[in-house]
């Protein structure tokens, strides 16, 4: 997967720019809506706020990844606990999850400290969560959903992933989307009508720490996960 060069910045920028059309159109169209009902107006304002927040998070994360992938900045790795990162991610995405009809579950098992960059990992997983939340909350799905943020260790690595029961991403569809990244507007048509730029921005950020985003299965759910090397220094402590 290393040779799949989605970090070619202009390609990713185009994808992010295309993705940002949607929240801007959402804000523009909602501001046109005609109604005098106070509750509906308050609801619309909340949606406008979350559309703007999602757009800003995607943009800021793209810029963060760009700085490190360009070699303008060197990413600093330090021993961190993924449980703490995922607590933070869960806290950050909670509001968007609620608005998108989804409950968040946090599952942290037998984890060890890893070598990573707290801010980078947090941003990467916030983008993954946001993309899943927005993409899976469509007109077709009426029932409330749940999303699990899971951290577990396996052998010499920690795995961190975000899983849902309606995430239709397989290893082959993910790899095909990376291969077709430059040519395809809708990267994963079986999963989303959007282009899911948040996944690729996350992929780019994780690459700066030599971590790889992969489709994964966990407790019967599908998701996207990344592996991280354990911090031997902290294990000794």
């Amino acid at each position: 997967m290393d040779n799949l060069n989605i970090s070619s910045n202009h390609i990713l920028l185009k994808s992010v720019a295309e993705e940002l059309r949607l929240p801007l159109v959402q804000i523009s169209r909602l501001s046109e809506s005609k109604n005098d009902d106070k509750q509906t107006i308050i609801g619309n304002l909340k949606i406008i706020e979350s559309s703007a927040d999602l757009a800003l998070q995607l943009l800021e994360s793209y810029i963060f990844g760009l700085d490190y992938n360009d070699g303008q900045k060197q990413i600093e790795l330090s021993p961190i606990t993924m449980g703490a990162v995922f607590n933070d991610v869960a806290h950050q995405v909670h509001k968007i999850a609620n608005q998108n009809n989804c409950d968040i579950e946090l599952e942290i098992k037998n984890t060890h400290p890893i070598m990573g960059n707290y801010e980078a990992i947090k941003l990467a997983f916030i983008n993954i969560a946001n993309s899943i939340l927005v993409s899976t909350d469509t007109n077709e799905i009426k029932e409330r959903r749940s999303m699990t943020l899971s951290v577990f260790s396996k052998g010499p690595k920690n795995f961190a992933g975000i899983y849902t029961n309606n995430l239709n991403i397989t290893r082959s569809s993910w790899e095909r989307s990376l291969l077709m990244f430059e040519k395809s507007r809708q990267k994963m048509p079986n999963f989303s009508a959007n282009n899911c730029s948040g996944f690729y921005v996350a992929h780019n950020i994780l690459e700066t720490m030599s971590s790889t985003l992969i489709p994964s299965k966990h407790n019967g759910m599908r998701g996207l996960a990344a592996d991280f090397k354990l911090s031997h220094q902290m294990q000794l402590v």
């Binding site: 523009s28 909602l30 469509t138």
Partner: protein
């Protein structure tokens, strides 16, 4: 009230469409092209307005299927899409062949303008 079938996968845009148009038209909104076929079968719409970029079933496939039914060949279809029409340069003849009345690019076309286009189509069909 004229019946309009909207195919719109995005919940927020669907909400704004519903709030804007519900006072003028008998609206049905779905995010699924497959469901749209069933809905059209249950209650034949006067106009179909659709996004071309959909999950699972792409908009072009929907148009092919919709137009394959004899009764629906003259129902006006407006494409209201986040995808710029310039991405389909080879499809100009296709839109004509499939009897697509307008291709409107969402970022540039507000609901007010969409409403004008719908009114024009209704007036043209009545006369």
């Amino acid at each position: 009230m004229k019946k309009i079938l909207f195919i719109e996968p995005d919940k927020v845009i669907a909400r704004s469409i519903e709030q804007y148009f519900k006072q003028y038209f008998d609206l049905t909104i779905t995010g699924s092209a497959k469901e749209a076929i069933f809905l059209a079968d249950e209650s034949t719409p006067d106009i179909v307005i659709m996004e071309i970029q959909l999950k699972n079933f792409n908009g072009i496939d929907f148009i092919h299927e919709f137009r394959s039914y004899t009764d629906w060949q003259n129902i006006p279809i407006i494409i209201y899409s986040i995808v710029p029409p310039s991405e389909f340069p080879q499809n100009k003849n296709f839109w004509k062949k499939m009897n697509i009345q307008h291709y409107l690019y969402k970022p540039n076309v507000k609901l007010k303008t969409l409403n004008v286009k719908i009114d024009e189509l209704i007036t043209a069909n009545v006369s």
